[in-house]
Amino acid sequence: MNRIDEKFAGLKSQGEAALIPFVTAGDPDLDATLQILRAVERGGADLIELGVPFSDPMADGLTIQRASERALQSGTTLPQILEMVRQLRRHSEIPLILFGYYNPFFRYGLKRFAHDLNAAGVDGILCVDLPPEESGELRRWTDPHGLDTIFLLAPTSDATRIRLVSEQGQGFIYYVSVTGVTGARKRFEADLRAQVTRVRRVTRLPVGVGFGVSTPDQAAWIASFADAVVVGSALITQIEKAKGWREKSKRAGAFVARLKRAMKRVAKQS
């Protein structure tokens, strides 16, 4: 069992859903990111998605596009991100997932990529533009290192896709709450609960919900029927608004704590 599986097993026994904050690595620089990640963990994050900036983030809305641009402007590179992960790992066992687009990973060299991720202490990879059909060349190298490849499902996924992703997925399934790009939203599709339930009936993997989750109430509602809640753009906005790494990490940690408290209240009720 790797850190991701252990975490989900532990939370399940307590009847809790996992909170997974998304942070763009290097926004505005990697020193700040390290402090933000520590604050987010103290605030109650169960797992962390660490965004690897890409020049052409076509699945992302404006908030994460801007975060990516800031990170690239400060010269953030994948080797530097892995170095920061090594530093984080000295004091933390929080499950860590690299979240990004395929090209920077592919260009790094997949064999070296898998080796270096494992050595740095990364637990899983989520590649937005890498569906199961194209993932063979990556998994040839990541599977032997015990790195999880996490796949997505979306409201457009039919029964065939749900089966395919259930069979091939590792760690958990990332269910995209809406057809669209990342970004905070006021409302969700009315049948989100039914859609997630439909996926959970098919898979043995935990199901996390992301895209658009922005308030403690939304996080709590999703926690009542999903195994995990991913919060990205709303957290990035908090980080964006604050000045300096101290203020940024303080706000990020406080925001995550509010989300987690709301999710725990639901766990106690049910």
């Binding site: 699945a59 896709r161 995209v176």
Partner: protein, 394 residues
């Protein structure tokens, strides 16, 4: 080619987010059906003939050939198509496909604006809602085409992210598609994107090569020695080359945008100067830095100003079937001027890159040799750019 998952050897495939997978699979199924449907083919060719103005002439450029003093140069006159470029071949085909799939809203990306105009045109013709995504920089340098699209009833969405050119327009179109995927048809204009787009666009554009092959056989009684076409994403080159691929003696040259020169780094020569990578749904040669970030490109021709290239062209390059060359901004403008002076034809800046290569090639060949250049579009849209380049005020 391609295999059933859209791979051309190492290249191609389907690198899209899960939300789009059902849409590209649905498209593949719909296209597989119409590909076998003689009724669809009849309708397609009817529209190409009656609406798009095919077939286009294969014109013997006597003046140019005499000036170059070598091979006989023929021009495949795609510039004479309705809307002024080969782009209409593909948009007619895909509009018919969208209609059969029951999609009433069409989106497209555009660089030079030719694909945008061709898409807006068929959307008007078939009564569909239409939105065109175009980078801010391209909107500025192709103002005439922006106005044409609006006149045709399309909404033009100005893209301000990234380098504000074609690749960013494609990012934004993909973002729109994933949001409204249930009723929107994404009409990709090049042989790029996820499977089945490279296949669909190649098939619809193949009419160029099919006609040219027939025409040269009728005129010269033999196949040409060379085919020359410019390559941005690669739709006009694949359209010309594909029907000749099995004719082993026909040499093919793809001409990429050399911009200010390959050594300056300011160009758009993906195959000559790129490395393999994944962008916009497929694996292919790509202009990127050593970290896999996509590089900004430069070409005087907006339609070539793209960091990627169609996967089948990457495959044909590795096979050695297609040779690649480049022409700089300066060479393209010089070629455009020469053609205007000796033939009375003003080509698009994109097509002028192919002409530049033919101008280098023809004098080295004997007078009995034949070259076909794909004159993929006309130059009206480029008057501001050329005047600006030459320092002439309009």
């Amino acid at each position: 080619m391609p295999d059933n998952r859209g791979h051309f050897g190492l290249y191609g495939g389907r690198y899209v987010s899960e939300a789009l997978m059902p849409a590209v699979i649905e498209l593949e199924k719909a296209y597989t059906r119409v590909r076998r449907d003689p009724g669809f083919r009849r309708e397609f060719h009817y529209q190409l003939r009656e609406y798009a103005g095919r077939e286009t002439p294969l014109y013997f450029a006597a003046g140019l050939s005499a000036r170059l003093g070598g091979a006989r140069v023929y021009l495949k006159r795609e510039d004479l198509c309705h809307t002024g470029a080969h782009k209409i071949n593909n948009t007619v085909g895909q509009a018919l496909l969208a209609e059969r799939m029951g999609k009433r809203r069409i989106i497209a990306e555009t660089g030079a604006g030719q694909h945008g105009v061709a898409t807006a045109t068929v959307a008007a013709r078939f009564g569909m809602e239409c939105e065109i995504f175009m980078g801010k920089e391209d909107v500025a340098r192709q103002a005439l085409n922006v106005f044409r699209m609006k006149l045709l009833g399309a909404k033009v969405r100005v893209v301000e992210s990234g380098s504000q050119t074609l690749k960013d327009a494609m990012n934004e179109a993909l973002r729109d598609w994933v949001t409204y995927v249930r009723h929107t048809y994404y009409l990709i204009g090049s042989v790029a994107g996820p499977h089945p787009y490279p296949l669909i666009v190649r098939d619809f554009q193949s009419v160029i090569g099919q006609e040219a092959r027939r025409q040269i056989l009728a005129r010269e009684g033999r196949l040409p020695d060379y085919l020359v076409a410019c390559v941005g994403g690669g739709s006009n080159s694949m359209g010309l080359f594909y029907p000749f691929l099995k004719d082993r003696k026909v040499k093919m040259v793809g001409v990429e945008a050399g911009g200010l020169g390959l050594k300056t780094g300011r160009h758009a020569a993906s195959i000559l100067a790129g490395q393999v990578g994944v962008l916009h749904g497929s694996k292919s040669y790509l202009l990127q830095d050593r970290l896999g970030q996509i590089r900004h490109t430069h070409s005087i021709a907006a339609g070539l100003d793209y960091p990627g290239v169609g996967p089948e062209l990457s495959y044909l390059r590795d096979q050695g079937r297609v040779r690649f060359a480049s022409a700089t901004d300066r060479e393209a403008v010089a070629a455009l001027r020469l053609l205007a002076e000796v033939e009375g034809i003003i080509s698009a800046l994109e097509s002028a890159h192919a002409l530049a290569e033919a101008i280098r090639l023809a004098p080295r060949l004997g007078k009995d040799r034949l070259i076909i250049v794909n004159l993929s579009g006309r130059g009206d849209k480029d008057m501001d750019t050329i005047a600006d380049y030459l320092g002439v005020g309009l």
